[in-house]
């Protein structure tokens, strides 16, 4: 029965994925329930907003600048060849607002923040600090997860606005000075083709990325087992899972918002 063995192997691979989705969703419901009950510590939220948002600005902005510039080199070069140079501004702005800005911000946060959240909570878990929180009457959901959850949801769209502006500015400079695109045409097509929904849709996507990254990172942290090795494995798994989830969800949201 070779097919049976194959089916069993596939099942063993797939079941944990659905279990994980179920557990992360259940954690998400707990978090949202507590938020609506008003169990939010605003001081902790503001501390996390600084760590997650403000401290990520240099990385997000630098990445957006260079991705915007590279994007402009490719777009401008090819569009000019086909006599469509005047559309570069429009294509750049749509591409950055809908996809590149949100994706860059999501990737940066998944790499930097998911790793940091999982490593911090995972270390607390293996050093019994999460149990100590419970023993002192503090809920780990309220004390650790909710501040990170709210901060990720609020700060990702803000970082995306920065990334959009800087990416567009970088693209503009490269398109004008290296791609010989007319600045007036660049701005005109950018204004004509870019709609408000392109920007809002992109920002909503990043808020959803923030929600997912926070939940995955906190879930991986709180379920860390073992010592330093366990923390390392949980952190790697957190970043990989966040990135894969981000790419998959990004596709479906793009279809939903922009198709």
């Amino acid at each position: 029965m070779p097919y049976r063995k194959y089916a069993e192997a596939v099942g063993h691979g797939i079941i944990p994925i659905f279990e994980g989705i179920g557990r992360v969703s259940s954690l998400g419901f707990e978090v949202i329930k507590d938020i609506f009950r008003g169990k939010v510590n605003l001081q902790l939220v503001s501390e996390q907003m600084v760590k997650i948002g403000v401290e990520s600005i240099p990385l997000a902005v630098t990445t957006a600048l260079f991705v915007g510039m590279v994007f402009a080199i490719q777009i401008a070069g090819e569009f000019v060849k086909f006599g469509a140079g005047n559309y570069v501004g429009g294509v750049m702005s749509i591409g950055i607002a809908r996809e590149l800005g949100p994706a860059i911000t999501g990737i940066v946060i998944a790499a930097r923040v998911a790793a940091s959240i999982t490593a911090e909570i995972g270390t607390m878990q293996v050093k019994e600090q999460i149990d100590a929180l419970r023993a002192l009457g503090a809920s780990p959901i309220r004390y650790l997860i909710i501040p990170r959850f709210i901060s990720c949801i609020l700060m990702l769209p803000l970082l995306t606005i920065f990334a959009d502006i800087i990416g567009l500015a970088g693209g503009y400079i490269v398109a004008i000075y290296m791609g010989s695109i007319n600045p007036m045409e660049y701005m005109e097509t950018a204004q004509n083709l870019l709609e408000l929904w392109d920007i809002f849709g992109g920002l909503i996507k990043t808020a959803i990325f923030g929600l997912l990254i926070a939940l995955i990172a906190c879930y991986k942290g709180i379920n860390t087992k073992g010592g330093a090795r366990g923390v390392g494995e949980a952190t790697t798994s957190s970043v990989v899972t966040s990135l894969i989830t981000l790419f998959i969800v990004n596709y479906f949201l793009s279809v939903l918002f922009f198709k």
């Binding site: 019994e128 600090q129 100590a132 023993a135 002192l136 009457g137």
Partner: protein, 241 residues
């Protein structure tokens, strides 16, 4: 009084505690001994509901703690201070903030009142002056003492010690044991000590039980335990188990 009523705890198919009936009296210092991994720490975690029993009940002053609401559990935890094996101080907070943590969380006190309580608790553990130190700047013994000060913040009536002297050098161990004896005498708290360090057990306990294969074996006072005829206990205390 704490009463374990047919208390049972399994982790999947692994039996940790099986159908245990036992009473812990107010003011006594009970040590639970047993080999590593036998479930001693799980017992403490069950007592403050970090873990839930598979079956059976824990009654505190006649009340089944499994029926407690979140607020009642928080009140229970204020009355039960727990000292973790790894001390479990919060890395991101200094000594003062660690001790003040639960006070800031649960009590409507001014910062001045909190500072006064923290100072009093640090004085009890002989650590006045170390308020601004971070956990990484503390020695193993200091970590334990801060952990004890943190557990004392709400004047608990029961203190749960998880391996309080394991991994400490002999001199520091004696310091911690002296502190445990002092707290027991001065504050009249009930102490439940989980450890496999026999020196600590003999010095701080008024009664000893051994947890072996999920069951309690009552061995009596330290003197009675040292003269026990129970083969399992004898084997454990002479280093054969």
């Amino acid at each position: 009084m704490i009463k374990l009523d047919k208390l049972t705890k399994y982790f999947n198919s692994l039996r940790v505690i099986e159908d245990v009936n036992f009473e812990i009296n107010k003011g006594e210092s009970l040590s639970v001994i047993g080999p590593s991994g036998c479930g001693k720490s799980t017992l403490l975690r069950l007592l403050i509901r970090i873990e839930e029993p598979t079956a059976g009940r824990i009654l505190i002053d006649g009340k089944d703690i499994s029926l407690f609401s979140t607020d009642e559990i928080n009140n229970l935890r204020k009355k039960m201070g727990m000292i973790f094996q790894s001390s479990a101080l919060f890395d991101s907070m200094n000594v003062f903030e660690n001790v003040a943590f639960a006070l800031r969380l649960h009590a409507s006190l001014s910062e001045r009142e909190i500072a006064s309580i923290v100072k009093e608790k640090l004085r009890l553990v002989d650590l006045v002056g170390s308020e601004r130190l971070m956990p990484e700047e503390l020695s193993g013994g200091m970590l334990k003492r801060v952990s004890i000060a943190r557990a004392l913040a709400f004047d608990p009536i029961t203190i749960l010690y998880d391996e309080p002297t394991t991994g400490l050098d002999p001199i520091t161990s004696v310091t911690i044991e002296n502190l445990m004896i002092k707290l027991s005498k001065e504050l009249k708290v009930t102490s439940i000590i989980v450890t496999h360090v026999l020196q600590t057990v003999y010095r701080v306990s008024s009664r000893i039980v051994m947890l072996n294969e999920g069951k309690f074996i009552e061995t009596g006072t330290p003197e009675q335990t040292q003269k026990t005829n129970d083969p399992i206990v004898k084997k454990f205390i002479t280093g054969g188990l």
